[in-house]
Symmetry: C2
Subunit: 495 residues, 2 copies
């Protein structure tokens, strides 16, 4: 398959750039110029700069000649935003997005997931599914994806090849599972599982020697699906290779009970991974819905990150992850779509749901069982106010979930300082976002809209930039993501 | 403004028709023909029928000649579905969709809502906002909308006119509120509020004498914003006119406390409306998140309906409406987008969120505080299993939320038997839905997709119809709604 055109020139971007300054604050850089060199790295961020000024003053300092620069100028109402980082997505489950019925984790695995994953040992089918998944996630602005593949090495390698060809930054993990799965979808033994993991690592190294765009990632499915020996061997492989690790933790009540029963010697679920040497600064833990504080503290101490997957947690009735508590405890948190436990491949949808799920964490419970206002004892009031403030704090703002979708994700995947924002020295992993502007005379009753592909965000013109961003988070979709770049290369654009 | 072309011919529709048979069951009618007469009424539903058979055997029984029939044939993968019924939407708040920050009901009203509503006394602005709102909701497949307008009579009448011109079935309510609002946005007195309501009723009667498409609806904002006298006068107006009523109830803890304090003589919140004669079979109650069982039983006994607004309840941290309990108690339930407490004008989004919110109702709470499995006393097990079954029952299925979006909504708006399904005698309020079919060779790495406007639902071809519907509910959007009809008239189509 021929790769798309590589970046051959330096690039200049002019317009409004918006990115996270810190967890609860976005920075709005208007009338700004960003220069990106041929390697895809940001080499200048210049406020109050137009094309003329860039040509006259920026190019000379960079040693650029105007003829060697491609310029992209954001139009009115458009803005550049860092590409999204999906810290947890199962590419082989993509065709099942939205299909889960009323199931919860363990029956969902057997009913929907294992059969689909097993079927992708058919490489023709895998090519169709993975190709679609990569194109879709790019169209949603996902510049970095952390993929679970399947136990099949050839299909896993194909996924890595497709990411490389499409230009998506990716971590691609060959799944290890030597128990729990059905007979038709199971590693034969722990050593065989690790040998297969090695085979996939070797393939990716041959294709991208320095793992500059696509990296292998060690992928024990989750503790209940791995024998103690498999976990131990994978821990040894991690020490040997220094590669990142991804797995699941504490998603569902039944799963937690299962993990406890299968690892009776461990202090708790997190300790299972820790004992195997699989809990470290390069570890990505999906879900972490029900972690105890002791587990949370251990995760924070090890520097591991959590992939928060709100769509999935609500869809599979897993629970409401206490994101604020994780953050307060010092845990890195990013967002994961968790397709197909999560129904959507869009990180923007995950960000939207992250705010809503945090509101559910903050909701008054069982109101009817509680005494109503006015009936409460005076001495309870103080405690209640404290509890209310705590609940209020649980809520995640638009700014915060956008941080999780970009810089938070970068921390989780070990690329903080390299992706997730617009700073000199970072790679140009970015999306150009355009919102629909409502005309002055929209009352016409034509039954065919002239601007259908602008999506569902309607900007009337009086909104502040903060309000535009909120409108994007709540009503935006892939139609608003006009162009997407990874390492400076244009990897997606809408017509 | 010129109205779109009226239906001049009889119509034949051929293809797959899907609608709710009962709460938890969809009926799939494949290779079926439906005949719609010039008045927009369904006059035949014929299974196993193609164009030839329809012409040869159906037309004669209906007295139709082929020259006088327009035929619409669904393509492979497309299906006809009843139009959606949005039982609660604030048209003037449309520009605020997605803008709510971390606010809850009472501060949200003062910060975002009252200023926007008041500003629409400017009819130029109102035309722009209402025109956009009506076109957008039609594009989402909303064939019937129950609108709150504002206190401004002229703007309210404009909204009714726009619905008539666009062909959307609507209930349009001039809002009554003679207290709580800011000085700049308040009825002067109860009698003035009722006089204004009458003025709007008169306008709509002049435009649509039998309220065949657009009907007025009595609209006390909610109890805390209405004096006892205003409620009493509106109750009298209801008895006089027989018109439907819409208001809010029990959305938020603070609001409930406020209602109690303002109506100390009432037994509870629902009783406030009941005493005023405003709780009857034509009453639509938005939210009903925290109703006690006594209130629920009263609502059921009066035959009133509830507009369940999951997007709004999650966005404003209002709570999780116990929909299963409402249904079990015999209350009619439909779905409301509640723009802009709700962030989306799409009923499909409300349906999607209704499943997720019901999962939150069913979630295990405070797991960490509970004893873990294995540590529980044996005697508790039975009680726990009972509780688990109860929680499991709380979950709403895809089939159930689609019922709420169509037939449930029809019950709530008093049009059961007329809209919401495909049956002889019902009006043709329908949408043609098309899902994206993934080609056999999707692995190409072209950065421009050829089928962008097919939306985010990817059908690979092996899915059952039930799975296709689930995919539509979870990843569908307005791109999948190809055409929309109300009373037989085509009111929206995508290019």
């Amino acid at each position: 398959m021929a790769s798309s055109k590589e970046q051959k020139k330096n690039q200049l971007f002019i317009g409004t750039f918006i990115h996270s300054k810190k967890l609860d604050e976005l920075e709005y850089l208007h009338d700004t110029a960003i220069c990106v060199d041929k390697s895809g790295k940001i080499v200048a961020v210049e406020p109050q700069c137009d094309l003329e000024k860039a040509t006259g003053t920026l190019y000379p300092t960079l040693g650029w000649s105007a003829a060697d620069v491609d310029a992209t100028i954001g139009r009115d109402g458009e803005f550049f935003f860092p590409g999204f980082i999906d810290t947890h997505i199962h590419a082989p489950q993509y065709p099942n997005a939205g299909i889960f019925g009323k199931s919860t984790l363990l029956d969902w695995l057997n009913t929907y997931t294992f059969p689909m994953e097993a079927s992708l040992s058919d490489l023709t089918k895998a090519r169709r599914v993975y190709g679609r998944c990569v194109r879709r996630t790019l169209s949603h602005g996902t510049t970095t994806a952390v993929y679970f593949a399947t136990i099949d090495v050839a299909a896993t390698n194909l996924l890595a090849d497709l990411c490389l060809a499409a230009g998506q930054r990716a971590f691609v993990g060959r799944v290890c599972m030597d128990r729990l799965g059905p007979p038709y979808y199971l590693d034969e033994s722990a050593p065989q599982a690790v040998a297969a993991a090695r085979a996939s690592i070797d393939h990716i190294r041959a294709a991208d020697a320095s793992f500059a765009l696509v990296s292998p990632i060690l992928t024990p499915r989750f503790a209940p699906a791995c024998s103690p020996e498999a976990l131990r061997l994978l821990g040894a492989l991690q020490r040997e290779t220094g590669l990142p690790v991804q797995t699941h933790i504490s998603e569902n009540v039944g799963e937690i009970a299962l993990a406890r029963s299968l690892f009776p010697d461990a202090a708790h679920y997190a300790d299972v991974y820790d004992r195997a040497g699989l809990l470290g600064p390069r570890t990505i833990l999906a879900h972490a819905v029900h972690l105890t504080q002791a587990e949370t503290d251990l995760v924070a101490a090890r520097g591991a990150g959590v992939a928060h997957c709100p769509c999935s947690n609500s869809a599979l009735t897993s629970g409401e992850a206490p994101v604020r508590r994780l953050l307060d405890s010092g845990v890195h948190v990013g967002l994961g779509t968790d397709v197909s436990g999560g129904y959507s491949a869009s990180v923007l949808e995950a960000a939207r749901l992250a705010t809503l799920v945090s509101n559910h964490v903050a909701m008054p419970r069982n109101l009817q069982q509680e005494k109503r206002d006015g009936e409460r004892e005076e001495e309870d009031k103080e405690k209640e106010q404290e509890r209310e403030m705590e609940m209020e704090r649980a809520k995640l703002s638009v700014e915060e979930v956008l941080y999780l979708a970009t810089r938070g994700g970068a921390e989780v995947v070990g690329l903080a300082g390299k992706i997730g924002a617009f700073q000199v020295g970072m790679d140009w992993d970015a999306q150009l976002v355009g919102l629909g502007m409502v005309g002055e005379h929209e009352e016409n009753d034509s039954i065919e809209s002239a601007e259908e592909d602008r999506g569902n965000v309607d900007i009337f013109g009086w909104e502040t930039w903060e309000e535009r961003i909120a409108k994007w988070v709540y009503n935006g979709d892939d139609r608003n993501t006009r162009k997407v770049w990874v390492k400076g290369r244009l990897v997606h654009q809408r017509k």
